[in-house]
């Protein structure tokens, strides 16, 4: 069976800097995979490539069978992406963000699910306030909501737990579990090993822009993780 996410020898360069230096990665449907590594390991850049935001410099990246370089728009329709930083238009409200993402994905009935997700993430009361006044944790939670709204076949969550309170963490874990249950492929990038293990069945560790290990999550003890990072 072809993996939903299939990355082969991915390289991404920004001028002189090589952010990703030859990653190979595969992830299947109905499974959550953690992407772990230190700062600058290439996790977020890999996520951006998978989201169709950054084109690969070389290598092959297939998302649900679509080549990211050839048809990024089709890839964007397939994935739900929570970026690592901000990810929100400062003077728009959560509801306007949901409205835009739903309309662009041609979702006729989205309001009930949108309202439900906002409530689950503790954002129901601020649905009509501009996000510029949100705390970091609130912005992160809304980013997860936006990624999950259309029940994507591929869910990309980049640092979704960063600065998020326990209720937000719980809601995010629920979103991951729901997505897994309906057969979606989930890639979750984080620094937090414990939460990664709770959410994901397998883990991939990146270092210096390359993947250095791929294993079942239960095998990734803190000693093993530490050894892989150094």
């Amino acid at each position: 069976m072809t993996p939903v996410i299939d990355i082969r020898d991915l390289h991404v360069r920004f001028g002189e800097v090589e952010a990703v230096a030859g990653i190979d990665l595969a992830a299947d449907s109905g499974r959550a995979t953690a992407l772990l590594g230190r700062n600058g390991a290439g996790k977020s850049t890999t996520m951006k490539v998978l989201a169709g935001v950054v084109p690969p410099t070389s290598g092959t990246v297939l998302v649900a069978g679509t080549d990211v370089a050839a048809d990024p728009l089709a890839v964007k329709r397939t994935v739900g992406y929570c970026p690592d930083v901000g990810g929100l238009v400062p003077r728009a409200t959560p509801w306007e963000h949901l409205q835009l993402t739903a309309r662009l994905r041609r979702m006729p009935e989205w309001e009930t699910r949108g309202r439900d997700l906002l409530e689950r993430f503790g954002l129901g009361d601020v649905a009509h306030r501009v996000v510029g006044g949100f705390s970091h944790g609130m912005s992160r939670r809304l980013s997860v909501v936006l990624a999950a709204l259309h029940e994507p076949a591929v869910l990309l969550l980049d640092e979704p737990f960063d600065g998020v309170d326990p209720i937000g963490v719980e809601a995010t874990l629920e979103v991951v579990a729901d997505a897994r249950a309906r057969g979606a492929c989930i890639l979750l990038s984080t620094h937090l090993r414990d939460l990664a293990l709770e959410a994901c069945a397998s883990a991939i560790v990146l270092r210096g822009g390359s993947s250095v290990a791929e294993m079942d999550a239960v095998e990734l003890t803190s000693e093993t993780y530490r050894a892989l990072l150094d």
Binding site: K48, P72, G86
Partner: protein, 506 residues
């Protein structure tokens, strides 16, 4: 809190460090250095060269001399307008970067003073004052006269800063926004009524600046200069008080926007534009009009020249220049770095399944709307005051308006894709690009649009009806090509990724 124990000496030291930090982070230091040399050279030229001009009719010189008191007072008004519009004055460091540093209000106050000349209107007015003084005084006594004028420029800037901080302080009180809007509106109406009633000339003659103008070129200039120097020190020191007060209060207007309820409007169902484009245009419009700084800037830029056109009854020659300057000012609110409107949300927007052309077109359309609004209101005011222009002038006016809007739009979108910056425009004191870059942008935009406007002024005086449209076609072709190049760059995936990553890195 450092602010309560902040001393002037400490503030001056902090200012030096912050200016050093900013100057070291200039992207193109060579261009900045050349620009600085050019500005200094131009200032010297303006202060000296007109004194040796000959052949100017005496009645013309008398008119220039008579206008000097009003010009000196106008400089103060300009400074007040700039500091009021900018929420007290420019920021040394963007707010989100400054929060981690112990920067006190006195440092902010000194920083706003030092950065005030990076406003093109300030510089042009200062040059105009120096040139007018040189012209009226002549070579004898020029040095003393220019020392006095320069000290007046500094004093007016410092005094304007006192007013600017005070207004910002009032604005941050409970009913402050209403108070400031009412007072500003009443003052504008009073000026308008005074002008219409022909009383402003009397007021101009009674201005204290009339005595200052009389002293220029005279033997008592050292005394006047010493007095101005004392007033400068007093004004700078006085500015510290309202700066401390204003910056110690929460920014109520911004907080009201951020904590207020904004019910989403129904998704538009356009007849002409695509649904995606219309939806994104709606979002972009919200981003502009919900920003305190941009909303204030657009209103001031549209209303200020309109009031002048209504009150002073500007000739059509002058009105022809206004759309270009208005459009330039509007572009400087965010258009020169148009993607910063989304801030860190640029990355999320880039992940949405929508054609990149629709994103570019929506941003271009919304920017164009702002340019049309700001440049159009003074023209409308001119038409109300002067009545409809004769046919040739009307053709030139419409052609000029369309040309400068498209010209500024093309330049702004081109800069936006070539030189993006990560900027948070939440604060009205924030600018869409670093100060040095903004100064360069302002200089180039105003130069281009003024030259264009003057060309159409010339075309309006020649009785050949097709001349303005012919000029317009050439300009529009050039701007259209430039806009197409900018759009093409945005459609290039690696270039677009670079822009999105840069803008969202703030």
């Amino acid at each position: 809190m450092r602010s309560s124990t902040e001393t002037w000496r400490g503030a001056a030291t902090d200012l030096r460090h912050l200016m050093g930090f900013r100057s070291r982070s200039v992207r193109r230091p060579r261009v900045a250095a050349v620009s600085l040399v050019m500005v200094v050279a131009m200032t010297v030229l303006m202060a000296v060269a007109p004194a040796w001009l000959s052949g100017i009719p005496a009645d013309r010189l008398d008119l220039v001399e008579a206008a000097l008191p009003a010009a000196l007072a106008g400089f103060l008004l300009l400074g007040i307008g700039a500091s009021m519009g900018g929420g007290g004055g420019r920021e040394l460091l963007p707010r989100e970067q400054a929060v981690i540093h112990p920067i006190g209000p006195l440092t902010e106050h000194l920083g706003a003073l030092v950065l005030a000349p990076l406003n093109l209107a300030w510089l042009l007015q200062a040059w105009a004052l120096l040139a007018t003084t040189a012209l009226t005084v002549g070579p004898h006594g020029l040095l003393g006269a220019q020392v006095v004028v320069l000290l007046w420029v500094v004093l007016a800037t410092a005094a304007a800063q006192v007013v600017g901080w005070s207004v910002e302080g009032v604005r941050r009180t409970r009913h402050g926004v209403v108070v400031i809007r009412s007072v500003t509106g009443a003052a504008a109406l009073a000026l308008l009524a005074g002008q219409v009633a022909g009383r402003l000339d009397d007021l101009s003659a009674a201005l204290p600046t009339a005595r200052l103008a009389d002293s220029l070129g005279g033997p008592r200039w050292p005394l006047v200069a010493a007095l101005l120097l004392v007033l400068v020190v007093g004004a700078v020191a006085a500015g510290g008080v309202p700066a401390r007060w204003a910056l110690g209060l929460p920014p109520r207007e911004e907080l009201r926007v951020e904590s207020g309820v904004h019910e989403a409007r129904p998704a538009p169902t356009p007849r002409l534009l695509g649904a995606d484009l219309a939806l994104m245009r709606q979002l972009d419009r919200g981003s502009v009009w919900r920003s305190v700084g941009m909303r204030r800037g657009l209103i001031v830029l549209a209303a200020g020249p309109a009031l002048v056109a209504l009150g002073a009854g500007l000739s059509w020659d002058t009105v022809l220049i206004l759309p270009g300057l208005g459009a330039s000012g509007a572009a400087l609110l965010y258009g020169v770095n148009a993607w910063c409107l989304d801030g860190r949300g640029t990355l999320w927007r880039e992940s949405l399944p929508v054609a990149p052309s629709a994103t570019f077109d929506a941003r271009t359309l919304v920017t164009a709307e702002c340019l049309v609004l700001v440049s159009g209101v003074p023209v409308l005011a001119g038409a109300i005051r002067n009545g409809l222009p004769e046919r040739q002038v009307a053709i030139a006016l419409v052609a000029c308006w369309v040309v400068v809007v498209v010209q500024v739009l093309a330049i702004a979108m081109s800069w936006s894709v070539r030189r993006p910056y990560a900027v948070d425009l939440r604060s009205p004191r924030a600018t869409p690009a670093p100060h040095a870059a903004m100064f360069g942008y302002a200089l180039r935009l105003s130069l281009v649009t003024t030259v264009t406007g003057m060309l159409f002024v010339g075309a309006s005086s020649v009785p050949i009806w097709w001349l303005p449209p012919a000029f317009a076609a050439l300009f529009l072709l050039r701007s259209g090509l430039r806009l197409r190049r900018a759009r093409r760059r945005w459609l290039d995936a690696p270039a677009r990724a670079e822009i999105a990553l840069t803008v969202s890195a703030g």
